[in-house]
Symmetry: C2
Subunit: 284 residues, 2 copies
């Protein structure tokens, strides 16, 4: 089946209506485009759960602050479509901004609590933008399943909470982060890195692994953090925005492993590029 490219909510609705009437399960992978192998894995996961998979490509203005990289965010639609054909996605939904934010738009979807620490503390606009665009995409697509990468771990939790709270009837599946052989998490923003920065970038994941090993040996974050930060800075990163151990469900701060699922999360700049990463940590 060839990839269908649709650009309006009305065309999308018309395409999906007969599938829905037949009881076909529909999956959605919501992306900002600039698709890479990590996105391909998300599509494969959706295909494993659903007969039909829609991939949205929409650089969502409301999740970028004025000083952020909305304008220069990579837009590569022809390459995106080629990738989606290779992985057998069924629909590429590439709406214009007005299809998601109609003229006079005044409605926002917000999630409290989960959105406040970590990315929310650094990018206060971010999660209202994410929750708002995902609510709209979920309303337009009405998917049975949607798949998000764990690379944006807090986003995964926020979207899952929002979908449950609004009663959207969509299962939100998380997929482990896909990495380069040297450990760097795949991200569309890796394209911003110079060759030297690219060489330094794996220190982010390596630091997470080292801190995780320390935690599993019984050390506390408070004891491990200073060396880890020094290591990141020595590798060329900024002081991190955060390097935190958090409860894997609630994101409540933790200082040590105590047997409950936890997540180790980091964000730091490498030159002009802000990178984030996270890994699960559990006592051995």
């Amino acid at each position: 089946m060839a990839l269908s490219v649709v650009r309006t909510a009305a065309a999308l609705r018309a395409l999906l209506a007969p599938w829905r009437r037949e009881g076909t399960r529909i999956g959605l992978v919501a992306t900002l485009g600039a698709l890479h192998r990590g996105h391909a894995v998300l599509v494969e996961r959706a295909l494993a759960a659903c007969e039909r998979v829609v991939v949205s490509v929409f650089v969502n203005p409301t999740q970028f602050a004025p000083h952020e990289d909305f304008a220069r965010y990579p837009r590569t639609e022809a390459a995106d479509a080629a990738l989606l054909e290779r992985v057998d996605a069924h629909v590429l939904y590439a709406p214009a901004v007005e299809e998601i934010y109609p003229p006079g738009d005044a409605t926002r979807v917000t999630v409290s609590g989960l959105t406040e620490p970590l990315e929310g503390a650094i990018r206060p606009h971010f999660f209202a933008g994410v929750a708002t665009v995902c609510a709209r995409l979920f309303c337009q697509v009405q998917p049975d399943v949607t798949v998000f990468g764990e690379k944006d771990y807090q986003q995964l939790l926020v979207v899952r909470r929002m979908a449950r709270d609004l009663g959207l009837g969509v299962e939100v599946i998380g997929v482990p982060t896909v990495r380069e052989p040297d450990g760097l998490a795949l991200s569309s923003r890796n394209a911003y890195l110079s060759a030297a920065e690219r060489a330094a970038a794996p220190a982010l994941h390596r630091t997470l692994q080292e801190v995780a090993a320390g935690l599993r040996d019984g050390a506390a974050m408070a004891a491990l953090r200073p060396d880890a930060v020094r290591g990141l800075v020595a590798a060329g990163f900024s002081e991190p925005d955060y390097l935190d151990l958090r409860d894997a469900e609630t994101l409540a701060p933790r200082d040590r492993l105590d047997g409950a699922p936890a997540r180790l999360l980091v964000a730091a700049r490498l030159g002009a590029t802000r990178l984030i990463d996270n890994i699960p940590v559990q006592r051995a």
Copy 2:
């Protein structure tokens, strides 16, 4: 067809799924219960547009402030069910609070602009509660059409904007206010009025008609308001929270009729009971 009473989102989904698969048009009338003849007219309007009509009865906690009448709001489910059977509604959806607000709920839907004047200025919590509960009910029911009374005119505009902005694909129909023979707008809160208050209450609608006549004669709100307020107070009302002429679409303040559709809106207390009303006004 007998009235089906369902109390969970899952039971509702199961009941509606086959109708949806057959392409049956579904209408929703969202209410707080304590149904009266005004609600019956909303159901009749929905039946004119749809083959199946769901009426939700849910006293929504998030649209009441702590000092308001959530606890004493009239709850009359047996009488509500009897009325819905008489008017041939198909489904009474009476969810428990946890069906709409799951434990740990953290998501709110907000609409800016339209929600700020009038009721929004007096009841700052109100429209976030309304938009949030309506978004959830629309997600659960996925109606083709929903019908709201013009009695809560600002609410009608807010719900219509929210549904459009989120792309919920539901048509929001407004129905003219149903009134007692003496002009009092039907409202579940009229049950709070003493006999003496009930006798005084029609002054609210009469005042709107008198101001509208003055506007049609070319007078300005600023000139008409003082006498109108005096009349309301003489009839036993409080100073009104507002007595305003507004653009019928944007709710922007207006001082005179200029040919564009306008709305004259009022809110005032009669004893402990807050009453609202509004009428359309257009130059003759």
